[in-house]
Subunit: 592 residues, 2 copies
């Protein structure tokens, strides 16, 4: 497996030059202490952890996997020490509330940190990642008493968190969960039920695990409006935070999976376990979605991280491995063959990866900037606009970063040929680890439904406005060097507007199936257009800097590649969307 190197320069370019996030920080009182120097120092520090501690351990951890023995789960060698080192550095609470010991860093910085963690080892990243999500949900909805008891310990990485949603018969459809919460005289609840696919449900990294559990109160209305959220600790803490008795929650088994072998995916049995209500009764879903929305960008970043790692290895291999002869001008006749990278098809694969990786990094930073504005801006209008962008972009971030991430890791495997299929180089592990990110935290199909149904059609297209405004602002001042590419993006944006109108019309005329019939293609369409916007924005930013930083020429060239070879996918997607629900509903059930 090739060494992992954090792309510090590209992260710096995005933060400082493309998104100028330091100008935001200067305006937001809560971020007054943050500046670019500090951000750079933090990225450097995190990079050391990722490069020297986590990445070199990822393959061995995959091969060893997690062990299950009579309810106890043991993580692979070094995981416990590494987690404690991470926790000691404050890295579990990177974005957490400083009131409870968090670093309180802006999301644009933590997005870079999360990418490193995922590139180094997705399995490992899930333990701190889910804890960070649980911290956010508790910070937003838990009582002060619960916050004071739990948040300092979770933020310090002494206790970890989980989210317990899925049940054997209920995955996407949470409205039909059966877990029950019975009110107790002391104000707590007795939680019973079985939850499956619980990441980090049981493990040996820390002494206590805090489960956030969806369950139904006895008087719950049917469906998703009757779900409440509960905090259920593995050990019930005493008032001073020391651990008291073992709670009635246990791990029944762990799953054997395609990838993320070092992440414990648990069946959790709640047997009258003591829990506390988080937020209002029957309002569990909105509270859980606070956590889910945070996790969704995080899951998107898993796709990005895997792709970034895969690209580095593929590039290194393509530069070193000699095989076949290139065009006459590129031949090195002192060697028996030329490096793979001279061949057109290898370049196609590498540049596709590069376009997805650097476009994806720009995208996660773009969403991060909007999350920061939504959280920290004191300008109500600016805040509302950022919230709208976050609502629109979150499902795209989760699904498009992971779909393109998966495509990139598969290409990264292909560049290595047979060597990509064996364990040695690590490329096949990235494919297996990345794959789950398209499935969990709401499948990518569900993300698409959220985007097109709830967000776009739900707002009658209005929620698209801030994104289209950002794109139009760029298009209004085209860069001469990229005139053709600006035109291509303009044409693609027109296709978005066209098909959006078409879908809205079909919805208006009563087609109940159209949204779910074209949602995935619609999400991809918006994804490609948004990456097109970000590529031109990067290229435009790079253009005047070329004389001082010649390596930025690559941005302009990759932007041209993206527009010529990847943006055209918009055409096929738009054509499929134009078919609406028609060809999907010709088949009777017996016709399949």
């Amino acid at each position: 497996m090739a060494d992992y190197r954090v792309p510090r320069e590209d992260m710096q370019f995005l933060l400082q030059d493309v998104f100028k996030v330091d100008q935001d920080w200067a305006r937001y009182p809560a971020l007054a202490d943050v500046d670019m120097e500090m951000a750079t120092a933090i990225i450097d520090e995190a990079a050391k952890l990722a490069e020297t501690l986590l990445a070199p351990n990822a393959r061995a951890a995959d091969e060893e996997g997690v062990h299950f023995n009579d309810g106890e789960v043991t993580t692979p060698a070094n995981y416990k020490e590494h987690f404690q080192q991470l926790a000691a550095g404050g890295w579990v609470g990177v974005t957490a509330n400083p009131e409870f010991g968090g670093m309180g860093l802006p999301k644009v910085v933590s997005a870079q940190y999360e990418e490193m963690l995922c590139a180094a080892d997705i399995s490992f990243s899930l333990y701190p990642g889910l804890t960070a999500g649980a911290i956010i949900a508790l910070d937003a909805y838990a009582s002060d008493e619960l916050k004071e008891l739990y948040l300092p310990r979770m933020t310090a990485g002494e206790w970890t968190g989980t989210m317990c949603l899925t049940e054997p018969h209920a995955g996407t459809d949470l409205g039909i969960i059966r877990s029950k919460a019975i009110p107790q005289e002391d104000g707590s609840f007795a939680i019973s039920g079985t939850k499956i696919f619980i990441t980090g449900g049981e493990h040996d990294l820390v002494e206590n695990i805090v489960h956030l559990v969806l369950a139904k109160l006895p008087d719950a209305p049917a469906g998703s409006k009757g779900i409440s959220l509960f905090l259920v600790p593995k050990f019930i803490p005493n008032a001073d935070g020391s651990l008291g008795e073992r709670n009635g929650v246990s791990c029944g088994s762990i799953e054997h999976k395609m990838g993320i072998h070092a992440s414990a995916t648990c069946v959790m049995n709640f047997d009258g376990a003591k829990g506390w209500l988080i937020g209002e009764p029957h309002q569990g879903l909105p509270a859980m979605f606070t956590m889910m929305n945070y996790e969704r960008l995080g899951v998107g970043i898993q796709g990005l991280g895997a792709a970034a790692r895969s690209y580095q290895t593929a590039l290194e291999y393509a530069q070193d491995r000699i095989q076949g002869r290139g065009a006459k001008a590129t031949r090195d006749m002192t060697k028996e063959a030329d490096a793979l990278i001279v061949h057109g098809d290898v370049r196609r694969m590498l540049l596709t990866m590069k376009a997805f990786v650097e476009g994806g990094r720009a995208f996660s930073t773009y969403v991060g900037q909007q999350l920061d504005t939504a959280k920290y801006s004191e300008d109500a209008e600016e805040k509302a606009r950022a919230e709208a962008l976050v609502a629109l972009l979150t499902p795209i971030a989760k699904a498009f970063l992971t779909d393109t991430g998966f495509e990139a890791t598969v290409l990264g495997q292909q560049v290595l040929g047979g060597h990509g299929f064996v364990r040695e180089w690590g490329q096949e592990q990235l494919v297996r680890d990345c794959r789950i990110a398209q499935i969990y935290e709401g499948t990518n199909g569900i993300q698409a439904l959220d985007l097109l149904g709830r967000k776009v059609a739900g707002s009658r297209g209005q929620l698209l406005t801030p994104l289209l405004e950002d794109i139009q602002a760029l298009l209004a001042a085209p860069e001469a060097e990229l005139a053709k590419e600006y035109e291509q993006l303009g044409a693609a944006v027109k296709r978005v507007t066209q098909v959006t109108e078409l879908v809205l019309t079909q919805v208006g005329s009563g087609d109940e199936n159209v949204i779910n019939s074209v949602a995935v293609e619609y999400l991809h369409l918006l994804g490609y257009v948004t990456y097109g916007y970000l590529w031109l924005r990067m290229a435009k930013t790079a253009q005047p800097l070329l004389s001082e930083r010649p390596y930025l020429a690559s941005k302009v060239k990759t932007a041209k590649f993206y527009m010529a070879r990847l943006l055209p996918r918009v055409e096929s997607l738009a054509a499929a969307i134009e078919d609406g629900s028609q060809s999907l509903y010709l088949h009777e059930l017996g016709d399949f």
Copy 2:
């Protein structure tokens, strides 16, 4: 894991109604004994093996994997018994020469058999599959003496075969292999060198293994014109076929891979091993390509088989699993949710799989029919035309069947959500097992280069003629019910002609990079158009049969789905091809 059921009806429809292969058999003297009744009986018999013997063992075999111990390789439980049962039934020599005990069946029938084997268990299928390929190469090029000694035993499945091409530094680029063959006084050769990625290089299924090895003679010209082919047995047989002394070939280790865990992928060390020349000196590549071309359709069928199996499981799951509510008309309010299959996005995934699987089955049968015509026809013109079609279609068969097969298995996993990522349902194994088929026997990038470079540009476009003629013959008599779809196919064919001319022009003007820059997209373009042709051909065949066989309505409906939702990919592919080599060669080496 869901049970596997061989799609007998669809195979029958293709053979009898769409391709009317019995009319061919009646015309070819060598196939005079074959008729549809016999073919049906053979398919039934093979189906029983696949359904009851092989398929139920696949998951356990994957989990157990192959064991390596001091040069010895042990296959998973039941493999040896199953292989012997297969061999006893004559299934190793399905297409082999009857003179040496083969069944001599037409390829259109064996293509169905191969699909079953791959759907049941790709790992297992490789042991008989490579043996069948080795039989073909020996039958075509070996001396009569070698044939008489080896072919009866290989055909009977008493000995298996391998192909030893790749070396640590030489995969795609065979011209730089270092294995040496030194002539011996007795007319044999001493073979030395290291070969890697050798499927079935060592195992415990049978008593002897026959390696076909590429190596260089002392006087070999440089590059690929200096490669010779040798037969190197594990045990040197005595004249009566009994086993003599152990040869100087041994297995150094086995690979740990993403998938096909039950297939032994070996490092083979040849240390002055005794070998015999097959064919002429320095003419090893053409001889090996005889085997490779056979294998290439076989590898394509691996993608098809995996996709077919994945589709069955996904369909079963989507029909049984209830989750969420469909459109009002489809709701079953007696249940707490509706079956997955009512949802548009689930239908999109299932129909994409179905279109690839049934389109792929039609494609493998189409290629099989051309292989049969090329082999058995006594009409020189017909034979030459079929040979041209085989040359054109073989790289498409290998790459497009596996690329669409991989896409299908990934979708088949997605339909099951989290349940697709865990081992239980078998969907993740199909993804892992299918993935290698895009890589080995010449990566799909190399197939594309063969198609666009050697075949299309090499013939200045002439090799496309028989395919385009077949398509035009269909388009000339449009079916009223499918008028729109006929137009769509016509437009797509025009795009093929356009971009072919463009590429030929760029080649003519000296662009050395254009072929390899657009080859993969070109192969996909031709693949989608060919599947479009086959879908319309199936729909047209089905149309007049609907009253007697109502289930064929599905063919017409799936054809409409294919044209509306998948054929439009042609547009994006053509646009990428139109970019030529341009955007791939902007980057200097340092720009990546």
